[in-house]
């Protein structure tokens, strides 16, 4: 406990010390506030006493080798872990100051905190129906409003120009990169405040990756984004701040520039230059 306290203090100190150099304003009320989050799967501890803040309109990149707990962390933010058997969690996650496991219902939370997966899985239906699926689940059936929503969502996901003439054709005919942007548009149709990306480009070619990253940078203006990625270069390209996880511990979190040029912990440096992981 004492050890963890100390680490958290270090973390806060470091961020404060770093604010001036990274040109960041310290928000008094972060979008998401994680405190002492510990997750066990059965007897295995996958996340250890994690505390961090996620600010509005930033992209927080989360990097780390396999089994570092970064995906478990991401999936706890929209309560996708609820369906895991044998999971035990302690600590708290606050969204706009409200505890997501106590004060909010899971379905409502997942509409506010959308998620993009590594594998794009469009429904075997038309492009149009894929985007209106979420709103229709929630009971929204106004046709003209839905049409407008389709256009807005596709534009925000940088897909509109490529598909505007074939909205009624099957989503399965799109390329992998287009499918991933369709999944982003599908999530945007729910008007989320936070978007979680779980290795969104792991199956994409460099050009598709660039397009997804471009839409992320654009989405940052109105959304809070958490990006889990195995691609450290991607974290460096798009992250406002970057967190490095190792074996369930948060090693350090800082401005992306600082992490990639002068990390405070030698393990971060080792990972970034590819010495392990």
């Amino acid at each position: 406990m004492g050890h963890a306290e100390k680490k958290r203090c270090d973390m806060t100190d470091r961020r404060e010390a770093n604010n001036s150099s990274a040109g960041q304003v310290d928000h008094p009320d972060p979008k998401i506030k994680v405190r002492e989050l510990t997750i066990h799967y059965g007897k295995v501890r996958v996340l250890n006493n994690l505390s961090l803040d996620i600010q509005k309109n930033e992209i927080l990149s989360v990097i780390g080798p396999a089994n570092s707990g970064k995906t478990s962390f991401l999936r706890s933010l929209n309560r996708l872990n609820d369906f895991e058997p044998n999971i035990r969690m302690s600590g708290s996650i606050l969204l706009d100051g409200r505890n997501i496991y106590k004060d909010l219902d899971a379905e409502g939370l997942r509409k506010r905190v959308g998620m993009i997966f590594a594998l794009p899985i469009p429904l075997p239906r038309s492009i149009h129906d894929n985007i209106t699926y979420g709103p229709r689940l929630a009971g929204d059936h106004d046709k003209s409003a839905l049409d407008q929503l389709v256009e807005d969502s596709l534009k925000a996901a940088y897909l509109w120009d490529e598909v505007k003439d074939r909205l009624r054709s099957s989503a399965l005919k799109l390329s992998g990169g287009q499918q991933q942007r369709l999944c982003i548009a599908r999530t945007l149709a729910l008007k989320p405040e936070v978007i979680l990306f779980d290795e969104p480009c792991s199956g994409l070619d460099p050009i598709s990756t660039a397009k997804v990253e471009e839409s992320m940078m654009e989405l940052k203006k109105n959304h809070t984004i958490v990006l889990v990625t195995n691609n450290t270069k991607q974290a460096a390209r798009v992250g406002t701040r970057t967190a490095f996880f190792l074996m369930g511990d948060l090693v350090e979190i800082d401005s992306t520039e600082k992490i990639f040029t002068a990390p405070a912990d030698s393990r971060t440096n080792d990972y970034i230059i590819g010495r392990f992981g």
């Binding site: 379905e107 997942r110 998620m115 594998l119 699926y133």
Partner: protein
Amino acid sequence: MAKLRKFKEAIIEKLIFLSGIASIVFVALIFIFLLREGISVLRSTSLGAFLGGKFWYPISDPPKLGILPLILGSLLVTLGAIAMAVPLGIAAAFYIAEVAPSRLRNILKSFVEILSAIPSVVLGFLGITILVPFLKRFLDLPTGLTAFAGSIMLAFMAMPTIISISEDAINAVPREYKEGAIALGATHWQTLHRVIIHGALPGIIAAAMLGIGRVFGETMAVMMVTGNAAVIPNSLFEPVRTLTATIAAEMGEAAKGSPHYNALFAIGIVLFVISFLINLTADLFLNRSRRR
């Protein structure tokens, strides 16, 4: 030395080949045998009179060999069983695969296996001592030995097949589909009935078909509780006799080579063809669910 090894391998290869084709050979031999013994029934009656005849009096003179009452008996018992077992089995599969906490899931799965391991004659025994008197008293019937009693017994027997195959189909739906729907704000129930049923449907249909096949071919328990009256039934609450029970009950007393004897083999052919069609349908659906 090398030659000996080669010789050994050739022998082993041949043996494996023989084991591999044995099932094909057996099926072919059984069918040929059935056909040879059964086809002669057409010497004493026409195909139409055999399949469509309303009277089964195999030892009268001349014998009346109409199996329509037996076919209807089998269908009635099967339909009754399926109407009970399919909805219950699928609901149970969904509960086990999607809702039950993991410890309860394991307990339920082992009990389903135990249910399938109970010999049918034991089920029939329970049926005749408990279920049949209960039905007679509760429904105020002249006899409890009815198609309905047979349906209930068979529903018990079909449930394990339907539950375990449906459960496999539900578990085979990719986790990404489920999580995709949940991440879009779908409730657990919306995910179940919009995404998971859709993905698992071919497998669930195959499970139902295999359950039907199991029920249709079952003999012992049915013979014990259905009353075995070879008359065309008007409702579920009358005694019936199934195709299988007829063969089992009468084979011992039919003189070899008599029209009665040949007719029993012809019933075997009818059973064989119907079971084959049911299994074929199930296979088509299973293949479709695997390909997805």
